[in-house]
C-alpha cells in the first residue's frame, strides 16, 4: 500500500497526540521516571532487533514488530502483558504480515531461549525464557485486538531511499541516515510522526554528523513542517545523549525489577 499513506490506518489511527500519549502512560510513570521508561523500551527494542536478526528477518519486519510493541504499550500499562512475552509475539505477527513465510513455533521458541541465554544474560542471569508456544498464540490475539487489526505499518526506509535518490545517490549519507532510522525505533517518534518526516529528521541528523552544509538548500526547499522535523531530531538526539551516560548492562536488572508487573488472579 505504498502509495496510500494518507488513507491508511497508520495515518488515521496511529499518529498519536503527544499529550494523550503522556496521559495514557501515567500509570507507569507513577512508578518509573520518563528516562527509566525509555530505558526499558530501549532494552526490549534490542530484544526484538536481535530476535529478528537471529530469525533472519529483514529490517522492515523488525521495525514493524517494534512499532506493534510500542503501539500496544501506548494504550496499556507495562503490567498488562509481560513485555518479554509481547516482544517475540510482535516478531511472530509481523513476520506473518510482512510475508516472510511463517516462522515455525518451535523455531521461534528455541530462538527466544538461545537469545535470552546468550545475549541477555546480563539482564536475566541464569533464568530461562519462560514462555512456550501456547503463551505466544494467546498473546497474539490480545495484540491483534489492541492494534485494532491495523497491521500494515509504514516505515521511514522507503521515503528515505527516495529522498537520498533525489539528493543524488550518496552511499555514506544513506548508511548514516538508515542507522539513525533504526535508532529512532527506540524513541516515541514512530508513534507521533508520519514516516516521511522521520526520514527527513534522520537525514537532517546524518547531514549534521557528516558536516554536509551543502544540503541546506535541499532541506529549505522541502515543503514540510520544520518544527515537526526539529521535534523528531530532538527526540533522537536525546536518545544519543542518554546513551552516552548509560550502561545498560549495569542498570537493567534494577530497572526490570522496578517495572510494573502483571498480577496473578487473586488466591481463593
Amino acid at each position: 500500500m505504498a502509495g496510500n499513506f494518507w488513507q491508511s490506518s497508520h495515518h488515521q489511527q496511529w499518529i498519536l497526540d503527544k499529550q494523550d500519549l503522556i496521559r495514557d502512560r501515567q500509570h507507569d510513570l507513577n512508578i518509573l521516571t520518563e528516562e527509566e521508561y525509555q530505558k526499558i523500551f530501549n532494552f526490549f527494542a534490542s530484544i526484538i532487533q536481535i530476535l529478528g536478526e537471529q530469525l533472519k528477518l529483514r529490517q522492515q519486519v523488525i521495525a514493524t514488530a517494534t512499532v506493534y510493541f510500542k503501539r500496544f504499550y501506548a494504550r496499556n500499562s507495562l503490567k498488562c502483558i509481560d513485555p518479554l512475552l509481547l516482544a517475540p509475539t510482535c516478531v511472530f505477527l509481523a513476520s506473518k504480515v510482512e510475508e516472510f513465510g511463517v516462522i515455525s513455533n518451535s523455531r521461534l521458541i528455541t530462538t527466544c531461549q538461545t537469545v535470552i541465554k546468550n545475549k541477555f544474560s546480563y539482564a536475566y542471569g541464569q533464568q530461562e525464557f519462560p514462555y512456550r508456544t501456547n503463551h505466544i498464540l494467546e498473546c497474539e490475539f490480545y495484540l491483534l485486538e489492541n492494534l485494532d487489526c491495523c497491521l500494515i505499518v509504514y516505515q521511514p526506509y522507503r521515503p528515505l531511499l527516495l529522498f537520498v535518490q533525489d539528493i543524488g545517490q550518496d552511499e555514506q549519507l544513506l548508511t548514516y541516515a538508515w542507522r539513525i532510522v533504526n535508532d529512532s525505533l527506540r524513541t516515541d517518534v514512530s508513534l507521533l510522526y508520519p514516516p516521511y518526516q522521520i526520514a527527513i529528521g534522520a537525514l537532517h541528523i546524518a547531514c549534521v554528523m557528516l558536516g554536509k552544509e551543502n544540503l541546506k538548500p535541499w532541506f529549505a526547499e522541502l515543503n514540510v513542517d520544520m518544527d515537526k522535523i526539529q521535534e523528531i531530531v530532538r527526540s533522537i538526539i536525546n536518545l544519543y545523549e542518554m546513551w552516552k551516560s548509560y550502561d545498560e548492562k549495569k542498570e537493567i536488572q534494577v530497572l526490570l525489577g522496578k517495572m510494573p508487573k502483571p498480577k496473578p488472579a487473586p488466591q481463593r
Binding site: 496510500n4 503490567k79 504480515v97 510482512e98 500494515i152
Partner: protein
C-alpha cells in the same frame, strides 16, 4: 491455556495481568452474541466457511456475511486478508466491517457486507439454462458492466501495490437487492499480497495454490514472481467465461496438490484455444524456467489450426466485435504485452453502446436465485475444493439440473430463510457499532448512481 506459567528456575513470570484479562474479556463482544447465523452457511472455500448473518439487536435488518477462517488461530492467509482489507476502501472491493477473535476456541471471524450473488453461481445458472434450452433475461450490457467493475476494483488494488493472485468467478461477488444493488465486489484476499517489496520470490512461499484454469501461461511455465499481468490474465479468462458460459481453459485436474507449477494438460488446453505462441509474439518465453520441458512436451504443429478468434467464433462472439478485441488484449500470452487494468478501462468496448452501468442488472429484475443454505455434508461448492471440483466436472448435467431446479424453488428457499430469527428489539447492547472499521464509506457509495438505472429498461438479451 495457563497464563500463570511458572518455571522452576523461575522469573516467577505471570504472563498477563489478571485485571487486564478480566477487563478485556468483559469488553470483548462475541460473534454469537451479536449475530444470528446458525444453520445459515452459504459458502465453503479452501480457507473458510461463510455464513449469512443478521444482527441480534435489530439495530439494522441488513444481511451480513460472516467468514469463519478454517483451522484455529491466525494463519498467514488470515493475517494477509485482515491486514490488507483493513486498509482497502473501494466500491468494488469487499468491505471488511469487523474482526472477531474467539479466544476460547481460537477461531477467527471476519464480518463483511453480504453479497447475494457471485459469478460462479451466475455462470452456473446460465450454463444450466443453456443446457435446457431455456433463456435467461439479463440486460444487454451486463457482462460489460461486470467486467468494467472488476477492472475498476483491480485497478484500485494494483495501484495500491496489492496483487489479488486468486481471481476466479467464485471470488467475484455481486450485491443483491439493496442500496448497492448489482455492484461487483472483489473478495477473498487470502492469497493477496503486497508486491512493492518482494522479500522472497513469491512462488517459494506457498507452493501451488488454487485452480489452474485461471492461471497465466507464465506461471505454468514456472515464473518465479507474481505480477499484475497474472491478475489480468485471470480477468481475461473470467471475461471469456461470461461471454460464453464456459470456462475458456477448462481442464481436468486430478493431481492438483503437486508443488510443481508446470502443468502439461493445462498448457495443452491453453494452446488448443489460443494456438502455440510464436517466438515473435512472446520473445521471453525462452527464458522461462520450464521452457525446456515445454519444447520437449509440445509440438507446434499440433495446434496449427487453433486461435482465439476461431474459439470465440464457435461461441458466437464475432472476431470483429469490440468485446473480442478487448478479450484478445487481456489474453495475450506474453505477460509484457498484456494490457493493464487502466488501459483495459479505456478500451472502446466501454464507450460503445450499451454503456456499462453501476447496477450491473441495470434496474431489471435479478433472474438468479438467492444463495442456498448448505448443510455440513452438502457437496455443492466452489471450484476451490479439489475433490469436489473433479466430481463436478464428471457430472455436469446432474449438477446443472439441480441448479435449474433450485432456481424454480423460491418457496423452499424462502422457507429456509425463515429460520433466521427476526430482529430482536429490546436487547440493544452497545457492542455493535464502536469497533467497526470504515463505516462512513458505505453511505458515501450507497447513493451515487451515475447514469445507471435509467437506461435499458426492457432492453433484454437472451445470452449474456
Amino acid at each position: 491455556m495457563g497464563d500463570n506459567f511458572q518455571n522452576n528456575k523461575t522469573m516467577a513470570s505471570v504472563m498477563m495481568d489478571y485485571d487486564f484479562k478480566v477487563k478485556t474479556q468483559n469488553e470483548r463482544s462475541k460473534v454469537e452474541d451479536l449475530f444470528d447465523f446458525e444453520g445459515c452457511k452459504v459458502g465453503r472455500g479452501t480457507y473458510g466457511h461463510v455464513y449469512k448473518a443478521r444482527r441480534k439487536d435489530g439495530s439494522d435488518t441488513k444481511d451480513y456475511a460472516l467468514k469463519q477462517i478454517e483451522g484455529t488461530g491466525l494463519s498467514m492467509s488470515a493475517c494477509r486478508e485482515i491486514a490488507l482489507l483493513r486498509e482497502l476502501k473501494h466500491p468494488n472491493v469487499i468491505n471488511l466491517i469487523r474482526v472477531f477473535l474467539s479466544h476460547t476456541d481460537r477461531k477467527v471471524w471476519l464480518l463483511f457486507d453480504y453479497a447475494e450473488h457471485d459469478l460462479w453461481h451466475i455462470i452456473k445458472f446460465h450454463r444450466a439454462a443453456k443446457a435446457n434450452k431455456k433463456s435467461v433475461m439479463v440486460p444487454k450490457g451486463m457482462v460489460k458492466s461486470l467486467l468494467y467493475q472488476i477492472l475498476d476494483g483491480i485497478h484500485y488494488l494494483h495501484s495500491n501495490w496489492v496483487l489479488h493472485r486468486d481471481l476466479k468467478p467464485a471470488n467475484i461477488l455481486v450485491m443483491g437487492e439493496g442500496p448497492e444493488r448489482g455492484r461487483v465486489k472483489i473478495a477473498d484476499m487470502g492469497f493477496a499480497r503486497l508486491f512493492n517489496a518482494p522479500l522472497k520470490p513469491l512462488a517459494d512461499l506457498d507452493p501451488v495454490v488454487v485452480t489452474f484454469w485461471y492461471r497465466a501461461p507464465e506461471l505454468l511455465l514456472g515464473a518465479r514472481h507474481y505480477t499484475k499481468a497474472i491478475d489480468i490474465w485471470a480477468i481475461g479468462c473470467i471475461f471469456a467465461e461470461l461471454l460464453t458460459s464456459e470456462p475458456i481453459f477448462h481442464c481436468r485436474q486430478e493431481d492438483i496438490k503437486t508443488s510443481n507449477p508446470y502443468h502439461h494438460d493445462q498448457l495443452d488446453r491453453i494452446f488448443n484455444v489460443m494456438g502455440f505462441p510464436l517466438e515473435k509474439d512472446w520473445e521471453d518465453i525462452r527464458k522461462m524456467p520450464e521452457h525446456a520441458t515445454l519444447v520437449k512436451d509440445f509440438k507446434r504443429s499440433n495446434y496449427q489450426n487453433c486461435s482465439l478468434s476461431k474459439y470465440m467464433d464457435r461461441h458466437k462472439i464475432k472476431p470483429d466485435s469490440k468485446a473480442f478485441s478487448l478479450l484478445q488484449r487481456l489474453l495475450l500470452m506474453d505477460p509484457n504485452r498484456r494490457i493493464t487494468s487502466e488501459q483495459a478501462m479505456q478500451d472502446p468496448y466501454f464507450t460503445e453502446d450499451p454503456l456499462p452501468t453501476q447496477d450491473v442488472f441495470a434496474g431489471c429484475p435479478i433472474p438468479y436465485p438467492k444463495r442456498e443454505f448448505l448443510t455440513d455434508d452438502d457437496q455443492e461448492d466452489k471450484s476451490d475444493s479439489k475433490a469436489r471440483q473433479n466430481q463436478q466436472q464428471q457430472q455436469p448435467n446432474t449438477q446443472q439440473n439441480q441448479v435449474q431446479a433450485n432456481s424454480h424453488d423460491h418457496g423452499a428457499n424462502n422457507a429456509k430463510r425463515m429460520r433466521m430469527p427476526g430482529p430482536n428489539q429490546g436487547n440493544n447492547t452497545s457492542g455493535g457499532g464502536q469497533q467497526e472499521f470504515h463505516q462512513q464509506q458505505q453511505m458515501m457509495f450507497g447513493g451515487q448512481q451515475q447514469g445507471g438505472n435509467s437506461q435499458q429498461q426492457g432492453n433484454f438479451q437472451q445470452r449474456f
